[in-house]
């Protein structure tokens, strides 16, 4: 589903707890859950249930086994909650995130700012293939993007959405598609539904 010829693309895997960790934070974009998805996550994390915190982002019915989940309306609230944590996160903690790629990387970037290293973070892609696109011309972001070409939300140029991904920005590179022949924009297709 996330096939790419570019070898540096992140690889996502199903979430499972790191049993050696001191604490576990599970952050779920609930819109990406399949029926029964929360229950199977609860099963996977049962061995560490005593040290597990679950943040459910969006509408969700809690299920047994994930402790008393914390409900957050949107990914921006996750970013704020990580940044404002009164209890610092420890080197033994692990963060597990499930959701679309822009969600995964918004959370991972916010976690990195409070000190989480890459080996403390596990990401699992779920739901839409929608992308965040970074414009190489105006440096603005456009999201969610599900098409091969998209007008930039910052400068209005038509951007070709490339497969080049930046972990720092959590975004794909977008370059002006009609530089050589202004106005000649290829057919716009929905490819990241």
């Amino acid at each position: 589903m996330l096939h790419s010829d570019i070898k540096s693309r992140p690889v996502y895997r199903a979430l499972e707890p790191d049993l050696s960790a001191a604490g576990h934070l599970l952050v779920i974009e609930t819109a990406t859950l399949q029926p029964g998805g929360l229950a199977s996550l609860a099963d996977a994390f049962a061995p560490v249930a005593a040290k597990l915190h679950t943040w459910l982002v969006g509408e969700a019915q809690a299920v047994p086994g994930l402790g008393k989940p914390w409900h957050l309306p949107a990914v921006a609230d996750v970013v704020d909650a990580l940044a404002c944590a009164t209890r610092g996160y420890g080197i033994g903690d692990r963060l597990y995130v499930q959701g679309t790629e822009p969600f995964l990387w918004s959370v991972a970037t916010a976690a990195a700012i409070v000190g989480f290293g890459p080996d403390q973070i596990r990401l699992c892609h779920a739901g839409s293939l929608q992308r965040r696109v970074w414009c190489t011309h105006c440096h603005g972001f456009t999201e969610p993007v599900t098409t091969n070409v998209v007008p930039c939300a910052g400068c209005g140029r038509h951007l070709l959405v490339r497969d080049h991904f930046s972990r720092r920005l959590g975004a794909f590179m977008g370059v002006m598609v009609d530089t050589e022949a202004p106005g000649e924009v290829p057919a716009i297709e929905e490819v990241f539904a």
């Binding site: 790191d18 610092g88 420890g90 080197i91 903690d93 692990r94 409070v114 290293g117 890459p118 080996d119």
Partner: protein, 316 residues
């Protein structure tokens, strides 16, 4: 100074404590030395009357210093003899051949916080770390486990830093390693340098506390690792048979026979000396080869590893 090796001159010799000798070394031609970063080591050629030692020591001089390098050498009674040579023979004005600086233990500069644990003379790489962190302002803490009588020896390098704590073997003064490692913030990197048993204890405690392996860094002492039962090795390409004495490493014996073997750290860490093993069974003491490579039995690191039994045949 350019070339494969550097010629140094001993500018000062100071015994800072019983069994601890500090050397200040300058370029013999009066020029500048190559700069070395925090955690760097240099390999010195020590020409004794009967034999030559090649020992690597951490630089304790300020990172980047080009006027002089400094090392601190503990005299190890059971060692191969290089440290005894430094304590008994070296005097001001002597010239020493040295390699270029290597660094297998540099601090991770994206770390939020640096936690250092030193055992005894394992403090030496951290003296250059402290100089760097003092300059960059990076958050850090150094825990030194040593004999009570030696806790003031390193004062000139430590100042009165509140980031340095000493621990020794007495009630109320021992370092509680699991408690220390359980309370570290995300973004911390851990560095340990000490005797093998302490290194192992710290590494195991870090794993138990959930530290990602990529945040845990260890430097072992090389010299104490390399002695053992005498054995014989045959260098297949050179056609030379060498006897490895109990107080020298296989690498020492190979060099004594006049065969040039590449090496860098002489402590089983860097992997530069890894050599194909054609026959015989090795007793692996390095920290470089993987479990699979050890099991395959086709490689050996002659700077620390020896023969388990009988003769070794090396492709050298």
């Amino acid at each position: 100074m350019i070339g494969d090796t550097l010629l140094l001159q001993v500018a000062a010799v100071t015994d800072i404590a019983p069994g601890l000798r500090h050397l200040r070394l300058v370029a013999a031609d009066g020029g500048k030395l190559p700069p070395a970063a925090a955690g760097a080591h240099v390999q010195f050629v020590l020409e004794g009357a009967a034999r030559t030692w090649r020992n690597a020591y951490s630089l304790v001089s300020r990172p980047g210093a080009r006027d002089a390098w400094e090392i601190i050498v503990r005299r190890v009674p059971t060692s191969r003899g290089g440290s005894a040579f430094i304590h008994e023979q070296i005097k001001v004005g002597d010239r020493l051949v040295a390699g270029w600086p290597g660094n297998l233990f540099a601090p991770v500069r994206i770390a939020r916080h640096h936690l250092m644990i030193a055992g005894g003379i394992g403090i030496t790489p951290f003296l250059s770390y402290l100089a760097e962190f003092g300059f960059t302002g990076a958050g850090h803490a150094l825990h030194v486990c040593c004999r009570e009588g030696e806790k003031d020896v390193f004062g000139p390098w430590l100042g009165n830093s509140p980031a340095v704590a000493f621990h020794w073997d007495a009630d109320g003064h021992r370092l509680d390693i699991p408690a220390l490692l359980a309370s570290q913030p995300a973004g911390t990197h851990l560095y340990v340098c000490g005797p093998a048993a302490m290194n192992d204890e710290v590494m195991a405690a870090a794993a138990a506390a959930g530290w990602p392996a990529s945040h845990v860094h260890c430097e072992h002492f090389g010299s104490a690792l390399s002695g053992g039962d005498p054995f014989r090795a045959f260098l297949a390409r050179s056609g030379i048979e060498v006897d490895v004495a109990e107080d020298e490493s296989l690498l020492d014996a190979i060099e004594r026979a006049g065969v040039a073997a590449p090496c860098l750290c002489r402590g089983g860490a860097c992997g530069v000396c890894v050599t194909p093993l054609l026959e015989g069974e090795a007793e692996h003491r390095d920290h470089f080869l993987s479990a699979e490579e050890r099991a395959a039995g086709r490689l050996i690191m002659p700077c620390v590893s020896r023969a388990r039994a009988g003769r070794l045949v090396l492709d050298l």
